[in-house]
C-alpha cells in the first residue's frame, strides 16, 4: 500500500490505529478511581506525545541514519514556534499558514546551520551545532527583543496581543488558534459509565500530521537516499574514496530533520499560541536526543516510543508524592513503609530528572538499541525458552577495517 512493503504497511496501520484511538487507550482507568492519575488521555498530554514524536522522528532521520549527533535541534523547534506565532500575529489565527511558515523557516534556518556545521563531523559537528543553538538561544532571549526590533519578546515569550494586525482574521473567527473555524481547544467528552474520554481537535490535527510525517519517514528509510545515509553512517571515508560526495546527502538529511523540528514547533504554537526562548536551550536539544536513544536509534518506531515514554513518565512521576507512596506501601509494617518511601522519595515528584538521567545512562550502557532492542531481546528470549535450544550462530559478519 502507498509504495510500502507488507511489514511497513502493517506498522503504519498499527501506529495509525493506536494514535487515532489514543483517547481510549490512554484512559484505561475510571475517572474517579484512585488509579485515574495514571490516565494520560487528556488533550494537553496527548498533544505533547504526538508533537515530541514528530520532533524525535525527524531527529532520528539525521542521527539514526547518518550517525551525526546534533546537539542543537531545539533551535529549529524554537524557530518554528516563533514563526508560527508571528503568522498568528500578522495574518490570522488559522493554523495552516502558521504551520506552513514554521516548516519553511525552520528549513531555511537548518540549511544555513547545516551548511556550516556539516563541514565537520564527529564531535566537532556536535559542538558546532551546540554552539549555534546556544547562540540562537542567547539571541532570542535578549538581543532580538529590543524595543526597536522586537522579534522574540525576550523573557516574556512571543504572544498575540489585541492590537496586532491579524489582517486575514475574519470578524466571527474564533479568537484562538483554529483550523478554518474549528478551534484547536474544542474538546468533545464522551462519558461511558465511569469512564470519560476526551476527543480534542488539536490532538487529532497533530495525530494526522504525525501519520503523514511518519509515512514520509518510512519512505525515506526505505529509499535509495536512505540507503546512502546509512552508508555515510557505516563508513564515510570509504564512500569518499569511491569518489562520491556525501555532503549533499547529509545536508539534505539535516534540512529534513530541521523541518520536522520546525513542524513540531509550529504545532506546539498552534496548540498554545506562545513561544519562549527556553524551547531553544540545549537541555531541550538534549531531551530529543534522550527520546531517540531511549526508544531506539535508527528504528522507525523507536523515537515515537521514546517520546511517549519520556513524556508519560515525566507527567506521572511529577504527580506522585509521598502521600501517594504511603498509600501504596500501606500493607508493609510501619517502619518498613517509611523506609521504602524514604528510599523512593528522591526519584519522584521533582526528582524526575534524576530518574531520567539514571534511566538514560542505563540504556546507553546496557541497551544501546533502546526500547526496541529491549523488546527484540525479550522476544528472542521467549522464543528460545519455547524451543529449548541454544541460539544458533548468527550469520552476521563484521566488515574488516
Amino acid at each position: 500500500m502507498l509504495g510500502l512493503n507488507k511489514k511497513d504497511t502493517s506498522l503504519l496501520i498499527i501506529v495509525g490505529i493506536l494514535t487515532l484511538l489514543a483517547p481510549f487507550i490512554l484512559n484505561p482507568f475510571p475517572s474517579d478511581s484512585a488509579m485515574a492519575q495514571f490516565n494520560a488521555g487528556y488533550p494537553d498530554l496527548m498533544q505533547r506525545f504526538v508533537i515530541f514524536g514528530i520532533f524525535a522522528i525527524g531527529f532520528n532521520i539525521l542521527f539514526g541514519l547518518t550517525g551525526y549527533l546534533s546537539f542543537g535541534h531545539a533551535a529549529f523547534l524554537g524557530v518554528g514556534s516563533y514563526s508560527a506565532v508571528w503568522m498568528f500575529k500578522l495574518l490570522s489565527y488559522n493554523v495552516i499558514p502558521a504551520i506552513a511558515l514554521s516548516v519553511v523557516v525552520a528549513g531555511l534556518f537548518s540549511l544555513l546551520i547545516g551548511f556550516v556545521s556539516l563541514r565537520r563531523s564527529g564531535i566537532y559537528f556536535s559542538i558546532l551545532t551546540l554552539a549555534f543553538a546556544q547562540m540562537s538561544f542567547a539571541l532570542a532571549y535578549s538581543v532580538l527583543s529590543n524595543p526597536k526590533f522586537n522579534l522574540t519578546n525576550g523573557e516574556t515569550g512571543l504572544q498575540v496581543y489585541a492590537d496586532d494586525p491579524q489582517i486575514l482574521q475574519g470578524a466571527n473567527a474564533p479568537d484562538l488558534p483554529h483550523l478554518f473555524g474549528l478551534p484547536m481547544r474544542a474538546t468533545y467528552t464522551l462519558d461511558v459509565g465511569a469512564w470519560s474520554f476526551d476527543f480534542n481537535a488539536g490532538y487529532y490535527l497533530c495525530a494526522v500530521v504525525m501519520m503523514v510525517v511518519f509515512y514520509l519517514a518510512i519512505r525515506i528509510f526505505r529509499s535509495p537516499f536512505g540507503m546512502m545515509l546509512r552508508a555515510v553512517k557505516s563508513n564515510q571515508q570509504r564512500m569518499n574514496y569511491t569518489g562520491l560526495n556525501s555532503k549533499p546527502y547529509t545536508l539534505a538529511a539535516f534540512v529534513i530533520s530541521g523541518m520536522y523540528a520546525g513542524l513540531a514547533g509550529g504545532l506546539m504554537a498552534a496548540m498554545d499560541p506562545l513561544a519562549g526562548a527556553e524551547r531553544m536551550q540545549w537541555t531541550a536539544s538534549g531531551e530529543v536526543v534522550l527520546m531517540t536513544i531511549l526508544g531506539g536509534t535508527g528504528t522507525l518506531i523507536g523515537p515515537v516510543l521514546g517520546a511517549g515514554f519520556i513524556k508519560y513518565f515525566e507527567n506521572i512521576f511529577s504527580k506522585i508524592n509521598d502521600n501517594v507512596l504511603h498509600s501504596w506501601f500501606a500493607f508493609l509494617p510501619d517502619g518498613l513503609e517509611d523506609a521504602v518511601v524514604f528510599l523512593i522519595h528522591p526519584f519522584i515528584g521533582k526528582g524526575w530528572h534524576l530518574t531520567l538521567g539514571i534511566l538514560f545512562m542505563l540504556v546507553v550502557i546496557y541497551l544501546p538499541g533502546g526500547l526496541v532492542e529491549g523488546g527484540q531481546r525479550l522476544m528472542k528470549w521467549f522464543k528460545r525458552k519455547k524451543s529449548g535450544t541454544d541460539d544458533a550462530p548468527s550469520g552476521k559478519t563484521e566488515p574488516a577495517e
Partner: protein
C-alpha cells in the same frame, strides 16, 4: 589605556575558570580519548565542596546564657559553632572566615576520588565505543550528578563569601602609575587568577618534570608503544583522570565567592569550555589554557557599552562566533597538532 587594562583584568577571572575546565577536558581527551560531558558537573561538585565545608564549619550547638535575656525576659540562646568551642573563639572565627580557601584541602581528596570512581566505574567501559556514546553517557551522568546536588542543596544559589581579608577591592591603578580610582579591582578576582595560574603551572610542571608525567606524555603520543614497553599506562591514565577532575573541582571551589554556586552552574560552563577546547585545539594543553584566557578577555571586551551599542548582543555570542570561525578556517584549533581530530 586604563580602560583597556580594566577590560583585560575583567576577563581574567572568567578566563581562568574557562582555562582550568578546558585544561581538565583536554587532559582527559588527550590521555583517554574520551569526550567528557560531565566535566561541568565536576566543576559544580567542587563548588559544592566549599559549600559543604562552610556548612560543616557553621554547625553549632545552642547554649542558654543566663546573664543575658532576650526581649521576652527569657535567657538568651547563644549559638556557638563547634569549631569555636574546640579551638577557642578567635581561632574558630578565623577558620570559619577562611572556609573557602580551606575547602581546597577538603576538595582535593574528594575530587580525586570522584574522578577515580567515575573512570573505573563508567568511562572505562566506553573506550571502545563511538564518541557519540561517550557524549551520551557522560551527558546522562552530568544530569544525575546535577540532580543529586539539587536534591541535597536545593535549587537556589548559595552564598559562599570569601574571607574578610580578601573581600573588597583594591585600587590597582595607583600601583602602576594611573590616576586613583581608574582601575578598581576586587581582590578575590586577583586571588582567583593567581590560583588558576598556580594550578596550571603545577599541572604543567608535573607533566614536564616528573617521571610519571613523562610516561603520561609518552602515552598521549603513542599509547600502544608505551604499553608494549611493559608500562601499565591505563593505571596512569586513570590517575590523570582523577587529576583532571581535581583541577575542575578546584576551579569550582574558588569560583564560589565570585558567583554563588547553584546546581546548574556546571552546565553553563561546560558548553563554553567545550568551545574553548575546540578553539585551543583538541588535545593541546597549552592551547586550552591560551584559548581560555583569550576568550575570557574577548568576552569582557565585548561586554563594554561601546561594543554592545555598536553590535547589540555581541557579548552573548562572541565566543560562539569565534569558535565557528576558528572551526571553519583552522579546524585543528589555535595550537592543535596537525592531523589530530581534524575531520
Amino acid at each position: 589605556m586604563d580602560a583597556i587594562l580594566l577590560q583585560i583584568l575583567n576577563g581574567l577571572d572568567k578566563g581562568s575558570a574557562y582555562a582550568l575546565i578546558a585544561l581538565g577536558l583536554t587532559l582527559i581527551f588527550g590521555t583517554l580519548g574520551v569526550v567528557n560531558f560531565a566535566h561541568g558537573a565536576l566543576f559544580m561538585i567542587g563548588a559544592f565542596c566549599a559549600v559543604t565545608l562552610q556548612k560543616l564549619m557553621n554547625l553549632s550547638f545552642v547554649t542558654l546564657d543566663e546573664t543575658q535575656t532576650d526581649f521576652l525576659g527569657n535567657p538568651l540562646k547563644v549559638e556557638t559553632p563547634y569549631v569555636e568551642a574546640w579551638f577557642g573563639p578567635e581561632v574558630g572565627a578565623t577558620i570559619i572566615d577562611w572556609s573557602v580557601p580551606l575547602a581546597i584541602l577538603f576538595a582535593i581528596p574528594i575530587m580525586l576520588l570522584v574522578g577515580y570512581v567515575m573512570e573505573r566505574g563508567l568511562i572505562k567501559h566506553f573506550y571502545k565505543r563511538p564518541h557519540a556514546d561517550q557524549i551520551l553517557v557522560t551527558f546522562g551522568l552530568a544530569i544525575v550528578l546535577q540532580e543529586i546536588v539539587k536534591y541535597f542543596f536545593g535549587a537556589n544559589p548559595i552564598q559562599t563569601p570569601p574571607p574578610d581579608a580578601l573581600s573588597g577591592s583594591v585600587d590597582l591603578g595607583t600601583m602602576i602609575g594611573f590616576d586613583p580610582n581608574a582601575i578598581i579591582y576586587p581582590i578575590w578576582r586577583l586571588v582567583y587568577f593567581g590560583f588558576a595560574v598556580a594550578i596550571i603551572g603545577a599541572v604543567f610542571s608535573f607533566l614536564q618534570f616528573t617521571t610519571f608525567g613523562m610516561v603520561v606524555r609518552a602515552g598521549m603520543a603513542d599509547r600502544e608503544t608505551v604499553g608494549l614497553l611493559g608500562i601499565n599506562i591505563d593505571r596512569r591514565f586513570t590517575i590523570m583522570f582523577g587529576i583532571a577532575a581535581a583541577v575542575a573541582g578546584l576551579a569550582g571551589v574558588m569560583y564560589g565567592p565570585l558567583n554563588p554556586p547553584n546546581y546548574h552552574m556546571g552546565m553553563d560552563f561546560l558548553v563554553l569550555s567545550f568551545v574553548v577546547v575546540v578553539v585551543g585545539g583538541m588535545g593541546s594543553l597549552p592551547g586550552a589554557v591560551l584559548a581560555g584566557f583569550l576568550l575570557g578577555i574577548l568576552e569582557s571586551f565585548a561586554s563594554t557599552t561601546w561594543a554592545t551599542t555598536t553590535i547589540p548582543g555581541i557579548n552573548q555570542i562572541i565566543i560562539y562566533l569565534v569558535a565557528i570561525i576558528v572551526l571553519l578556517t583552522r579546524p585543528r584549533g589555535l595550537m592543535g597538532r596537525k592531523g589530530v581530530m581534524e575531520e
